[in-house]
């Protein structure tokens, strides 16, 4: 019997075990697939989930608020502002302006117009005058930079580009400043009062004695070197000084007047300009300048050049009266001394937006002057004189129209006339 039972177990036990395991697995799977017990309905579950979402959203909101508060907090809490706290930005700006470097400033100047008469050329013509790009920048409290690039038309219809000025300036205070670079020389008054940019000057064009040396003028008006300038402690007299040491000008036909990188000789030009702007006559400036240089002519002969200029100008909102006179003295080491004389007077008065003006210019250079008298070596100067009459109308403080008549007499030719209109503007 016992043997029989053992045989039965041996025969059926594996089957039973496997069947039991299958039964357990199926039962478990069936249990897992059964619906939720009746203790939690679907609506309750949904509500629980919604509550949980709301709870999480609340936590996120609290965290965000905490983050924002920490980001706007400053080390010191803001001082209670007075009720009508005005222009807080302006207060910040003025502090910055006194301490931090200014931004780059950029201005453009241009002029264009129409010319008639032999004074300007063989035919009546529209003319593009100049396009001037002018930039200044405060590099630090005491150091600034200035750059000016000029595009100007020539009589051969080409447009030339010229680095007109490039200066690095150190200004200690009102009494001392030093600059180095390419400059407009401080000869007399006009050259540094108006520079390029016809918009600023009342008339169309400059007085004959101040025509730029790279456009037929005879004075050294552009140069490279060092400039020292400032006020002289003088109370209400208002004395100012400018002292320049420069390369001096090149000499010879077709030579670039400003010696930009190569000086023709070792001697440097020096120029001193002293002026007074007395406080008791606002707008008045009187002064003089003296410049000396040695020029080397084409034969390598040294010519001493001395240029004294005297000026008295008056500028007010209504009146402008400019007067300058000069002598250019040329002398070789041996031989006679030659004097070229020149002057101009310019008067204008403003009437609202209109400013009628008048100018008379005169230049007379000896025919045998070693610098101005030899047409094979340099453009001959001779005698040039005549009046200019015109009217300026300012549309606003950025644009003006000028209408002008010129008459010019020269040594060897009959007097010529010209009329011109010009729009001059800045932006």
């Amino acid at each position: 019997m016992r043997e029989t039972m053992k045989n039965i177990f041996r025969k059926f036990l594996p089957v039973q075990i496997v069947g039991f395991a299958i039964l357990i697995a199926l039962s478990w799977t069936a249990f897992a697939q059964q619906p939720a017990p009746a203790t939690a309905s679907q609506g309750e579950i949904n509500q629980q989930l919604l509550d949980r979402i709301a709870e999480l959203e609340k936590e996120v909101k609290q965290l965000r608020q905490a983050t924002n508060q920490s980001s706007i907090q400053t080390p010191t809490p803001p001082a209670p502002a007075p009720a009508p706290l005005p222009e807080p930005v302006a207060i910040v700006e003025i502090t910055q302006a006194n301490v931090v470097a200014d931004r780059l400033k950029l201005n453009f100047f241009g002029d264009t117009g129409y010319q008639i008469g032999h004074f300007y050329g063989p035919a009546n013509t529209f003319e593009f005058g100049e396009f001037d790009m002018f930039a200044t920048a405060r590099l630090s409290e005491h150091v600034s930079a200035l750059g000016e690039i000029l595009f100007t038309s020539s009589t051969d219809n080409s447009v030339g580009v010229d680095v007109e000025r490039l200066l690095l300036k150190y200004r200690a205070d009102d009494y001392f400043a030093a600059s180095i670079g390419r400059i407009h020389t401080d000869i007399g008054y006009y050259n540094t009062a108006f520079h390029r940019g016809d918009y600023f000057q009342t008339t169309i064009g400059r007085p004959v004695m101040y025509e730029f040396d790279d456009q037929g003028g005879f004075l050294p008006l552009q140069d490279l070197g060092v400039v020292l300038e400032g006020k002289v402690p003088s109370g209400k007299l208002g004395l100012n000084y400018v002292f320049e040491v420069t390369n001096g000008r090149a000499y010879g036909i077709n030579a670039e007047p400003a010696q930009n990188s190569t000086d023709g000789n070792n001697s440097k030009a020096v120029n001193l300009n002293m002026s007074a702007k007395p406080e008791w006559v606002p707008g008045l400036a009187v002064g003089f300048s003296v410049r000396h240089d040695y020029l080397s002519d084409v034969n390598n002969l040294r010519v001493s050049e001395t240029i004294p200029v005297f000026y008295a100008v008056y500028n007010s909102a209504k009146y402008e009266w400019l007067n300058e006179a000069m002598v250019v003295r040329h002398a070789r080491p041996v031989g006679p001394v030659y004097h070229t004389t020149a002057f101009y007077t310019q008067f204008s008065r403003r009437f609202g937006a209109y400013r009628p003006y008048f100018r008379y210019s005169y230049v007379n250079a000896p025919e045998n002057d070693p610098i101005y008298g030899d047409p094979t070596e340099i453009q001959e100067v001779g005698r040039v004189n005549g009046p200019t009459v015109g009217m300026r109308y300012d549309f606003n403080d950025h644009a003006a129209f000028k209408l002008q008549y010129d008459r010019e007499g020269t040594t060897d030719t009959k007097s010529i006339n010209g009329g011109s209109g010009q729009f001059a503007f800045t932006f």
């Binding site: 207060i91 003025i94 600059s179 606002p282 008048f358």
Partner: protein
């Protein structure tokens, strides 16, 4: 001689012609006579300035006070009568001349910085009160002078206060 005569005639013509234009175009301005008060920071020891000194300060012709502080002029933006009157009396200019002056000064290489502009008299007072080197001006009605406006004080002009009858700085 003939040239001189021509010059004189032309100059006379300019004056006559220009006078006629001016007569036809010059606007008529009514002066109310309200004084303009020049104010500086309370820490500034200056008490009296001449018209010439004021002009230098506002036209960037003087860069430092005697104390060594940088001069920082502040001015209300174009429009109010006190600005127009101040520029006319002190600088001899209108707004267009004033802006052109600084543009030309920059063009000639001068270190001229135009005054800081703010929208209102209140702004002028705030800036002057917060900057030791600042100087500005407001019309007398906008200046109380009782210390309630912060660290600012009025200065005399040519030795006169705004209340004096011969005070020149008036609208």
């Amino acid at each position: 001689m003939k040239t001189i005569q021509t010059i004189l005639l032309l100059m006379l013509g300019i004056l006559v012609f220009g006078g006629a234009i001016e007569f036809a175009t010059e606007p008529v301005e009514a002066a109310t006579g309200d004084p303009i008060v020049v104010i500086v920071n309370g820490a500034n020891p200056v008490d009296d300035l001449s018209m010439g000194e004021l002009k230098k300060l506002f036209m960037s012709d003087r860069s430092k006070w005697d104390t060594g502080k940088a001069v920082a002029p502040v001015i209300v933006v174009a429009g109010p009568a006190e600005r127009t009157a101040f520029l006319k009396i002190v600088c001899g200019m209108n707004d267009a001349d004033f802006s052109k002056y600084f543009l030309q000064a920059a063009f000639t290489g001068k270190s001229a910085t135009p005054p800081r502009e703010v929208p209102s008299s209140q702004g002028v007072k705030s800036v002057v009160g917060s900057s030791p080197g600042a100087i500005g001006f407001v019309k007398a009605g906008d200046f109380h002078g009782d210390g309630s406006e912060g660290a600012i004080k009025a200065v005399k002009v040519d030795g006169l206060t705004a209340g004096d009858s011969s005070y020149k700085l008036k609208m």
